[in-house]
């Protein structure tokens, strides 16, 4: 029996869709059966980031309105057999979906998958309510900006009223090391102490993420970038492993490392 996790943030543009795609990819890399559901009806993106745009035939609304079977709407990923996408409709709007319909649909998917990741639209209106309806757990995403943390706080407050299995988890996205150091951005500790929920992971602001989604291939698929390691760590933590947080330090030269080792620096 699978577990459904909603990925949400309140504020737009903090990286919900990118995170959903990458955690999904990272879980698939760990041999988990994963289904991604794009709930951002009318403004779908998840398919583009995964590079599956051209393969969509049916969508979520078609399934809910009985125009096709659930199985025929699922799009299989190019790279993994165990990663599927249920795309959102681009032509309809959010009000055509009801929370009960979504709940039923996710219950139907659960026996076939280990994880069901739900990509939530921005905002706290109907679209959010639909996305959260079928979720067992929730992940709140924020960037180290005040406005984004404020919205994450609001969404966590709303999620806590939903009666989820556990309190929401936190992912901090787009961390810029030098700005945090200079105090121009909230630090990880500040954010965690304000939001006071468990931190699932941190992701550095990395050009590779943008480059990867431009090419329709989630960054988590690459073996060695900082962002991909962050996403893989998050996936391992979701599976229950305890993985330490990644260090921020920029790549150091060999001599610096030696000096550090010898206590000279």
């Amino acid at each position: 029996m699978g577990e459904s996790i909603v990925i949400t943030s309140g504020k737009g543009g903090v990286g919900k869709t990118t995170t959903t795609a990458n955690i999904g990819t990272a879980l698939a890399l760990l041999d988990q059966k994963v289904c991604l559901i794009d709930m951002d009806i009318g403004l779908r993106n998840l398919d583009v980031i995964l590079g599956l745009e051209n393969r969509i035939i049916f969508n979520l609304i078609d399934v809910l309105e009985g125009r096709c079977k659930l199985q025929s709407a699922l799009v299989k990923d190019k790279r993994f057999d165990c990663l599927h996408l249920l795309p959102a409709a681009q032509t309809s709007d959010k009000n055509e979906v009801t929370p009960d319909g979504i709940k039923e649909l996710i219950e139907e998917l659960k026996p076939d998958y280990d994880y069901i990741l739900i990509d939530c639209p921005a905002g706290i209106e109907q679209g959010y309510k639909n996305a959260v309806a079928g979720a067992d757990k929730a992940v709140a995403i924020t960037t180290p900006e005040k406005s984004s943390v404020r919205d994450a706080d609001r969404i966590i407050g709303l999620l806590e009223q939903e009666g989820l299995e556990t309190s929401p988890y936190l992912i901090i996205n787009r961390i810029r090391k030098h700005m945090m150091d200079s105090g121009d951005m909230l630090s990880v500790d500040d954010i965690v102490s304000t939001l006071s929920i468990e931190l699932l992971g941190i992701i550095l602001d990395d050009e590779d993420v943008i480059r990867a989604s431009h090419h329709g291939e989630p960054v988590a698929f690459q073996p060695d970038t900082k962002a991909s390691i962050s996403y893989r760590n998050i996936a391992r933590r979701i599976l229950g492993e305890s993985v330490p947080l990644m260090s921020f330090d920029n790549d150091q030269g060999f001599m610096t490392k030696v000096k550090k080792l010898l206590g000279m620096k």
Binding site: R150, D153, R154, I156, G157, L158, S193, T194, L195, S196
Partner: protein, 223 residues
């Protein structure tokens, strides 16, 4: 003068003149005697008196009768009508308005935590979150949102926090807000309305005892 039981006794105390009413006789007799007494007493300018009905419960009409009588025949005015008894409703109300209502949670952005009486928040109040209380507000955590103490109009209420970094503090109908420039919060502080400046001021928590010695005195606040 024949032997006559007096149902009304006047006493001078350090709180002024207190008129004690007998609590066993009928109300009519009481009013009659009060009228005689008031008529015959030499009034010495305007004095404020306290009427104490002891173990008799006075209805609103009866209170009005007494007030009218005193108003009509003398220069005295009633400062307060006191009594040893309360109705059940009044006692529930008093209990509700003076007890501490605790909650263990973080008050997050967009959430409003409203209580009758004192509010004790075991957790933080985040920016955008609001705590409303008819009494005092105590935050065992960081206060970074809005706290409104005494929102029914009680200016004697205070807002105290383990870490004070609020966006706004309101006490009764007074408001104070954080300055526009960035400020650090400070640990263990409380906010109160200074009766001289009529403004909300902050002070260190250890001075609370001096500034509001009767803060938790139920009867001082409720009656």
């Amino acid at each position: 003068m024949s032997e006559m039981k007096h149902y009304i006794t006047m006493k001078g105390t350090n709180k002024g003149i207190v008129v004690y009413l007998d609590d066993q006789c009928s109300f009519e007799i009481l009013l009659q005697e009060l009228e005689d007494k008031v008529k015959t007493s030499e009034s010495s300018g305007k004095t404020e008196i306290t009427v104490h009905s002891q173990y008799r419960y006075l209805t609103d009409d009866q209170r009005k009768d007494i007030a009218q009588l005193i108003d009509q025949y003398s220069d005295m005015s009633i400062k307060k009508i006191d009594s040893y008894v309360l109705t059940r409703e009044e006692s529930y109300e008093l209990y509700d308005n003076t007890t501490v209502k605790s909650v263990i949670k973080t008050i997050r952005s967009g959430q409003v935590h409203e209580v009758k009486g004192d509010a004790l928040v075991i957790g933080d109040v985040n920016p955008g979150g609001t705590v409303l209380a008819t009494g005092n507000i105590f935050v065992m955590g960081k206060l970074r949102g809005i706290a409104h103490a005494g929102f029914n109009g009680d200016e004697s209420c205070v807002v105290a926090a383990s870490y004070m970094h609020p966006s706004q503090i309101r006490i009764a109908n007074k408001i104070s807000r954080a300055p526009d420039y960035d400020v650090e919060g400070s640990p263990r502080e409380f906010a109160y309305v200074n009766s001289e400046t009529e403004q909300i001021e902050l002070d260190q928590l250890q001075h609370l005892q001096k500034i509001r010695p009767n803060l938790l005195d139920v009867f001082e606040r409720g009656l």
